[in-house]
Chain length 278, copies 2
């Protein structure tokens, strides 16, 4: 099995891919999320792992757009606790570090830690693990990476400070994506779905749709309104619903269809064990 | 009047500050959004301009968190069409450019343009206008900035390509922020409000709250669920509502209070002219 990930070995996407599919899969490293739809739809990979939202940074709307435009399907979800670690070559102390290179999201999540070290320059880079690799290969002194423990292990770096993210409860949610008509693994249970719908432009239309879900005993675990660029008077929504009874879900969907102008099921899958809104 | 902006003169925040307050205000340049609440609450500035969401990149949840935690109030909103321009020293051609430095959001919004120029290296920087300034001051050859037309004017750079953003309709929404008990300007009309509320954990509770808004003839222009980190079973929502009748809005708020466990009005203000969801 070949799974596309964002970043290189040791990235958080790598950790998620192994957690979902096990350790024996082949990985295809991507430099950007944009590469993933093409790889999936041309059968160069069986699926992809794509970050979709973080407790601090919010939803990555451009990734929702990729899923929607290229008609990918969500095969599953993983909530990964993100622990950021400051790492450098063996022997380097915090006082030796002049610059820290990392992904902007990682820098954002660790901002508070670095307030106590204003002399350290924060430099943005394409991938957390890629920096760890560079430090090792080029034997860079005075430079540290913010990356996963796994990256420190793979590239033989020393962790100077662990868990430096501002919020100790820092989660990123990832989607496992597949082709529209494909199936990588058969989920044991289907109890969650991600939907995109467009309501009619009239007061209360969203409330009506949500009422249908409630009437069919379904819980909302996420809702987000989206601008429709070419149609400024209408609203699109991305919604996640959780349910116990798959038949009830299907009945609700039939009813919702009558109340919206567009409806697309982005995926039906098993809810991950981490249970909170968003 | 002294207004804090993210970035330096020529940044999009600068343009918004002038659009809202006119050209005679004093500006305080900030290197990060984090600096703004302290500046406001210690009266070092009268207000701040803060990007809150973009049509492509989505909401900046960490900025919502700053507004909520430091008890700032929204004084107004501005929707700015974001036109990105590629600029360099006079005489430089596109074929001379080896590297483009810009803010990660700007790079994200122009990704498609650079697909045709894979030999150009994209380097992330703290602010769009700051790069334009550096190119000018250090007379950097082979380096281009992605920034506003205003930045090109201020720093005397030549625009090589204009409107290079992927989506021609690319808007960023900014909040004008003030102290909780302060007032920078009195809005002529109040017809929009931003709210944060926490629903009771029971099926259909969100639908019930939205039904109240509909019953009072209010339209929803944005909704977003938020994880509550320390309380994984409850949901917080950021909602924007639009109304014609301020008294109706107040009546609705009284009713909503009875149906939620927490409610905070982040601001009551005049809707900007740009009208679309999010």
């Amino acid at each position: 099995m070949n799974i596309a990930i964002q970043g290189i070995l040791g990235s958080f996407h790598h950790i998620v891919a192994n957690q979902y599919f096990g350790d024996t899969i082949k990985l295809t490293e991507c430099l950007s999320f944009d590469e993933m739809p093409r790889l999936i739809n041309s059968n160069q990979v069986d699926g992809a792992v794509m970050a979709i939202e973080n407790t601090l940074a919010g939803s990555i709307l451009s990734n929702y757009a990729l899923i929607n435009e290229f008609d990918l399907k969500i095969q599953g979800e993983v909530h990964l606790p993100i622990q950021h670690n400051l790492m450098a070559l063996e022997g380097q102390l915090l006082s030796d570090i002049k610059e820290v290179w990392s992904h902007p999201m990682a820098i954002l999540q660790c901002r508070k830690f670095f307030r106590d070290y204003p002399e350290i320059r924060l430099v943005e880079a394409a991938d957390t693990a890629e920096v760890a690799k560079q430090i090792r290969e080029k034997q860079l002194m005075g430079i540290a990476a913010i990356a996963s423990k796994k990256a420190a292990e793979i590239f033989g770096l020393n962790i100077i400070e662990s868990k430096i993210q501002t919020r100790k409860q820092n989660y990123t949610r990832f989607f496992v994506l597949k082709k529209n008509n494909g199936n990588i693994v058969i989920p044991k249970v289907i109890n969650k779905a991600s939907l995109r719908f467009v309501t009619h432009h009239q007061t209360g239309s969203l409330s009506d749709v949500l009422r249908i879900f409630a009437n069919f005993n379904m819980n909302l675990s996420k809702i987000q309104s989206l601008p429709i660029i070419d149609d400024p008077w209408n609203y699109a929504f991305f919604v996640d619903v959780i349910f116990d009874n798959y038949q009830q879900f299907q009945n609700a969907i039939e009813k919702v269809k009558e109340n919206v102008s567009e409806l697309k099921i982005l995926g039906e899958y098993q809810q991950s064990k981490r249970k909170y809104a968003s």
